[in-house]
Symmetry: D2
Subunit: 336 residues, 4 copies
């Protein structure tokens, strides 16, 4: 039984962490922090967690006594907390972007401010870093778009199948977080599809840096907001550089992800569906069709709040403490 | 360990039964029938149940060997199957309307045809019939609207607080089933709200018959289709016949549902939310406000496919076999 | 040709006023005010009005020189502007709640603050006040819910058909205005239905005051937020006090609204649809069914931003200046 | 005043044709055919067109006496009607795919059957064929995806800015037509995004054939279904082959579409929105951003039923008869 703290427990990722951890047999939640909701029951903010007898507390990092802390804090805020938690002998899974980049210059360029507390972290995508995660004290949980994009691109990149890749991703609105904005105002985003940050989204360089460890392909990324609560559909268009078949591509994916507990490579003719993974930690990957111009299409579906955030964070925790990998995150999607 | 059959496993309620039962430690699924999808893997129809190694089979009732069969069959079809299953010493939870009515004349009037195989069944709303369900061989699983409406009305009716009740219910589209129709065509039902069968819905007399065992209130029912996948919000308007306070009403509800594992009576000022119960077997009840005309408002939220169908069916199974009541159906809602 | 000013032109009702007025042959828009967007082109805020060569201006009331001003300002703000506009010999159509009530005590009770500038105004529902509107200098444009509710209730009340009426209304999210809030945040209000202000909405007493001029029926009102951009579906449940038929009721509605340019009484068996009136100034009224408890159901559909706000405001302007009633607001709904 | 017939008037494109034509001052609708709804009033199917006093008729082609007929008929059906209409001296705007291809072999390959009645037609995209349309007897109205894609790609192709183009398009569900299917069933397509026909959609070769007249770029096309009623957002990714700036690209677009009544090139920093064009015949084009890999993004927004179908068809009619181009199709979008 380990003690768990959640810093920033009032956001969507905090809510999902609580949903998964409350039934985890090896875990006791000892702190769920929130400045704004200090003293209030969890269900005031997360109305589905009605029976959870925990209250938000406004705690400073040094007031937390845990074995592992999830920092579900904004970019720029995590770097001010994480070093102290580590110093006090707690392990950390950070859900912000602060520790995702190996190259601190890339971080500073795309996030637009100085990184004042750089530390070596393991990028927490279990499908590429499983063994490193097991040994890590600090895991940087991947971004939502990078999770869907990297899993869809990896075999192509690693097998040098394509050099130019376009990632056209469509995300549900919960990816924008819990705070209302013009972009998330129902009359604006319902019945609508919006490309945004079309060449400037921070998740683009994150995808590129991680894939570059596997091959030289150049990845171009454009996200879209779609009228969906949860889920990211990632459509990967890549120009193949030698003449291979669709069946061959699918076979590569099957081998690549063989044994992975949360990745499913679909059969030919199947297309991933958001409802298949809604609320679950699964990633479905499919299509593998190639057109007359040698353009290959691969599509992946994840739940941005689960495999794209809190489910993956719990997966990382399970690895870091030697628990069964799928413990408490093995639910299937909610379909329809 | 008991053996379970599901007749009509390709619909939404069939999919939900499979979702709950696949992890139930006391249950083995021995048959999932479908005429249309005979021989196909379950995930062709229920794409989220990818790892379920079961195939649909086109089985006749006498080819099923189980301890309990869920008949997720249409109204009029169940009555042709259920008697034979019972005769072969299987217990049955029927999800159709065929065995819900005590008064067969009411059934025939509202369903529009003769009931050819009437049998005595227990109405499977555990909150009113828990002890009878435990002893039953045939449980008639309640309709989705009646589940939300009866739970919201019961204390008012039983305590003789009101004589005239209007139930204005709003249902998600999955309540219409898996078969596409004009009414469920996205361009028709998205960005829309539609009253339908405004005074003639079959669930009206079901609500009335069950509530009439508790008091004399007359219930008027109107359903609406709303652009929601899952969930029923039931708004109950009733004219109170003596001068009681909102606090008093809430207290009555708290007492009435004290100890119920799946009903939550909200605090004053809270309103039930569909996301709080989405995918879960919970029913949230709240409001209890009274206006200047003596009109009391009570609102309940359920997931029509879970508490309104398959979750409640598994609850009934748990009761019939002495399993823990909440086994495999104690998940919380998916919010957001 | 008259000169028109719009105070508060950056909200949704401001946008709709501009949409209708830009093609009106008798109208020149001389001012569209906004503090926040001063100097910016209209299409920065209303992206569909791309070709409109008008800019927002931050004008004070005494800087406007117009024949009529639409005040699309918040409750409490209008009362600080309207008197000065009138004093400067401009006519006013006020879209706030400030001048809707005859009884200032009712206003102050429900709006929660003192009314500092009371003036006599005509309630701008042309179906009841057409002749008074023609002569008015100050027209109080009705609330969105009251428009749908009053039109659906009027014949019942005027003909003394019922004494107790429950209005269960479902509104699209644009009714909450242009400013993002928790309630309008897509992950909160999509796939959801929410009763709110269940016995305390300000539109309740507005409906009651206006109907009370026609009869003694007591009206109870509860609004709901539904995942729809535009539109209000109003379901009126009333207990009839003598034995009349559904056909008779429909006939009363047909006679009552005979000749009204924007009200359509549907045939028996038809149900109003939001798409039929989306973007239009029409109100469709239908159902007229009566159940075994003597409860009559009438349903109406309007677009909350058009018949429920700006379309009706232009209708009032047309009446005040003797233009054809339907000028520039006679478009049909956008279906699907 | 010309006489107009609409063959296949009960679908969505038929409804939109009626919406535009009913107020056209130069047009009299003499026939609106439907086999299924023969004898019924238009508003039984198109509930927003309540005041239109026309009935569906089950007419054969030789029973129509008109100056122009819109054939809103399925692929394969048009070819059996159009020759006879032309022979009887009627002009035709065909909304099916039957006459869109110059190369009949391409048609037969992608549509999967023989073309039995090939005729020379003008492809009815006014922005490229305005003068030819004016002289044409048979105009093939473009597909919805091709309209959005060609307008977004044309300047790039014509100016030889890119050789490889990926068109990732997202369409609202009304594009699938009026007939309910599994794909359009609300519980399936709401809260979802689905790539489909990822390399095999018929609109791909249509886009390629038309663009090939302007340059050699190879276009790869993938459509997606999104939970939107109306609208297509087309995201065009292309790899530029010389070093040009984003400003330069935008300038090319501005020049290319200068004077076009229905195309708007947005300013830098603006992104097209579906609500800006909802219900209107406009096409908004924007973005023009270029990333570090030399990938250019251009996005266009249209309403699939208007600029992508019936609005463009009326535009073609206006050109064919010398009416003002924008007559009866100059409404702005419905935002929000």
């Amino acid at each position: 039984m380990i003690k768990i703290g959640i810093v920033g427990a009032s956001g969507y990722t905090g809510g999902e962490l609580l949903r998964f951890l409350k039934n985890h047999p090896e875990v006791e939640i000892v702190a769920a922090t929130s400045r704004k909701f200090d003293g209030q029951p969890i269900y005031n903010v997360h109305p589905h967690l009605r029976d959870l007898e925990i209250k938000f507390e406004n705690l400073k990092p040094d007031e937390i006594d845990a074995d592992l802390v999830f920092t579900a804090t904004p970019h720029g805020a995590s770097m001010k907390i994480v070093p102290e938690l580590l110093k006090n002998n707690m392990k950390v899974v950070d859900l912000s972007g602060d520790y995702r980049f190996d190259n601190i210059k890339t971080y500073e360029k795309w996030y637009g401010y100085e990184h004042t507390h750089h530390l070596k972290a393991v990028y927490g995508l279990p499908e590429i870093n499983r063994e490193l995660i097991k040994e890590a004290d600090l895991v940087a949980n991947p971004g939502c778009y990078p999770t869907g994009a990297i899993l869809a691109c990896l075999p192509i990149v690693a097998e040098k199948i394509a050099e130019k890749i376009v990632v056209d991703a469509k995300s549900g609105v919960s990816g924008a977080g819990v705070t209302p904005t013009d972009a998330t105002h129902f009359p604006n985003c319902s019945d609508s599809v919006s490309p945004y940050a079309v060449t400037t989204h921070r998740h683009g360089p994150e995808i590129q840096e991680k894939l570059s460890k596997f091959g030289n392909a150049k990845v171009s990324f454009t996200p879209h907001l779609v009228p969906v609560i949860r889920g990211i559909m990632t459509t990967v268009h890549s120009f193949i550089i030698e003449d291979v078949s669709s069946d061959y591509i699918q076979e590569i994916y099957k081998e690549f992800y063989d044994g992975e507990p949360f990745v499913r490579v679909l059969e030919k003719g199947e297309i991933p569906r958001l409802s298949s993974v809604r609320g679950s930690n699964n990633c479905h990957i499919g299509s593998f069709d190639i057109d007359e111009n040698g353009r290959l299409v691969v599509a992946s579906a994840i739940d941005n709040l689960v495999k794209g955030a809190s489910g993956q964070a719990v997966h990382n925790m399970n690895l870091m403490f030697g628990f069964p990998e799928t413990e408490s995150i093995d639910m299937v999607g909610l379909h329809p």
